[in-house]
Symmetry: C3
């Protein structure tokens, strides 16, 4: 009996971190989404602020720059009345060779209650858990994971589609280098969806568990319930590491015509910032099919919910 | 009757934005100044804070850098208990070619209540009004307008002179490239003043409605009730786009002697930051004629009043 | 009698600034540490926040970059409910030649209650006192002083050793260019300690009052009650302005073996950020001898106490 009880307890125990979806159950994700729906109501009020995290200090530690993601987390934290310590690797002694560990331990000594970490080296947030003993939220580590992006994507899809059970979700672009694709390929199947990852052969990984890979855009989009275009890194393109713009557009740009292969009301997602007229036909982003702004708005609600679950659950 | 009523309603309707002074009446500016005088009282208390904007989020979006103006707005917003989202173009995905519109729509999706926008391209704040549907405050767009600077100038002048009715205000320097000059030339005549704009011929625009232009410093300063020196951009000077320092000083520096042409108690203004011993004789900035620090202090009161009028009036 | 009374009154009067320890008595430092111990208790609560400085505005003015010190002060201020205005010289009109004085007077006009100033030019915080008439905290000026670092060092030493009376404290490294060494050599003797400053001959100043200077590491460490390693500036090393890494390590690195010359439980301090395996054997920083993280934690309590003493005592 012992082992069974322990297993059951583990499965109902609240996760202490959000590194990826290892250790998260479908029920836990759904519970998080319930909280996020309450946060959406807060965000529709004139006074978009709750006292839930008064006196808590949330550190955003961005070893890799990302203004949008950092602002989204910081605003979410402040709307819950937390204090925010904002650390950016680029302007700090990191430039002088201080290690990730020393930096995090120094911040920790100032009395931090939760960490939001963005870093170009995969696995650093996992190490941070061992170093810090505080809730850690992965805001993107290398190509590995970007779980709050996947959560806000799933939340936005659920809002539009009602359920993800049996739905076909096509993700298109540079899959190989995309933490967004990897996190979605982990989370969406957990919620019942079938995930298709599509891009040029040079931009597909060998395999990903639970996801289907294809170079054929038509196959990916055919009867899809939703389509997600990923951001291409033009810097990589300019270095010849990606197909050229004309090649990519010819084969993989999401156009109105190609979107017609998907179900008639299939929504279109993009994690932003967009390269207009590259990943997708420019005007599609403003069409009623687009969830692009809704994704950003839901990012607030989802990130508030994540902070709430990880911090208040531990008091 | 209908049209007349509508016109009257429009003229008493509170402005929704502060882009320039189009759509602002003298009565509306005076009402704003009444609020600013209340804010001055708040700023003289030990606890310089009011709860008026609790739960509101004000975004400062500076596509062009300006630390002083940004800090002034952010402190004004926080002293009214608003949350502040601080976006700086230089450190963001703007560098990767994201458009003004995409950036603003992304921030807007996070739930922003008002925007403070500084940008080197004239007209972007006007476009932002169409994109966002939220109050927009222009914190400087190209050479076009910098209305809160003109408001704090006018407010400081009224404080010293009692009225602007029939007063002669001389503005001296690089008029052509100055949004400060343009906004003052719009606002001060609305409040009854006569504005003289003075500088070398190469730095004067063809014409400006409601203002008088002259290259003759003596003509501009003669019997003036107040003198405003503008900031010269030394970078432009070094490139040969402006007169040389010695030439400028010889013709247009405000010295104690030249200030003697104006009325005996005429105050001296400068929007800052000053190039000492260039636009004006260094010690003049500390003389009792100088309003330079008073302008900065009034900037707090005026910006708090602007935020209050645009945000609380809309609830 | 008059002069005696005045002297007594002066000695019990609360200091208005923290520039260095001129004008601070031992009793005043001990009173500050009592407040810091109360702040430590606040920092151990789930709600690490007190309303003591509500409505006050603290400006952190960093003409020289230092992310860690700036964050420590800003978090301390916000945990006392102050508003923080964060000014960094690098991103401002300072780059355009604005003087320290003009910058500070401009910020002051916005209504600042206390200043935290970091600057590479010694003496600027002293000048700021004359310009501003508000409490000024020196967060490091050139090689001259860094008093809050010395306070947190002394506070951490007292916590571990109980008293500093008659204790031998060895400070090792680039003494010549170290404001941390100078401030410790001023404060620790005031609290009864004997300070030894040790480094290569080229990195020792001619003399320092109240401290003993030696190039002999063994002499400095022998029976020491505590050992403090200073940060070396590798940039200076690379330019040939310091001994080479191998030379420094051979003569002055704090190793486990050399730490054995000190008393058996003598703690090891470092102001951070560390160059691991240069100033000290890497693993020593994590040993139970190390106070490195405790120093950072105490930095919060001490800086909260400094702000409290300088601001609330003046109301």
């Amino acid at each position: 009996m012992g082992a069974g009880v322990i297993a059951m307890e583990q499965s109902t125990e609240k996760p202490k971190h959000l590194l990826d979806f290892q250790g998260w159950s479908r029920a836990q994700v759904e519970s998080l989404f319930e909280t996020a729906r309450m946060m959406q109501e807060v965000l529709e009020r004139p006074v978009k602020k709750v006292p839930a995290l008064t006196g808590f200090t949330v550190a955003t530690v961005f070893f890799e720059n990302s203004t949008r993601t950092r602002l989204s987390f910081e605003l979410a934290a402040r709307r819950m009345s937390a204090d925010v310590l904002s650390f950016s690797g680029a302007t700090s002694s990191m430039a002088k060779g201080e290690s990730y560990k020393d930096t995090l331990l120094t911040l920790d000594a100032m009395g931090i209650d939760a960490y939001v970490i963005r870093v170009d080296a995969a696995g650093v947030p996992h190490q941070a858990v061992r170093w810090l003993g505080k809730p850690v939220i992965n805001a993107g580590d290398g190509w590995r994971a970007h779980p709050t992006q996947a959560l806000l994507d799933a939340f936005s899809l659920l809002e539009r589609l009602g359920t993800l059970e049996g739905k076909k979700i096509a993700v298109v672009g540079d899959i190989l280098h995309s933490r967004v694709a990897r996190s979605n390929a982990e989370l969406l199947p957990m919620l019942g969806a079938e995930v298709w990852l599509c891009g040029p052969a040079t931009l597909l990984p060998g395999e990903l568990p639970k996801a289907r890979l294809t170079t054929d855009l038509r196959e990916a989009l055919q009867d899809a319930d939703a389509v997600m275009a990923l951001r291409l890194q033009k810097e990589r393109m300019d270095k010849g590491l990606l197909p050229s713009e004309p090649e990519y557009i010819a084969g993989y740009q999401i156009t109105r015509e190609r979107l017609g292969w998907a179900k008639p009301t299939a929504p279109l997602l993009h994690p932003g910032p967009m390269n207009r007229d590259l990943e997708l036909e420019g005007t599609l982003a403003e069409s009623e099919r687009s969830l692009v702004e809704r994704q950003v708005a839901n990012g607030q609600a989802v990130r508030m919910a994540v902070l709430y679950h990880l911090l208040v659950g531990r008091r």
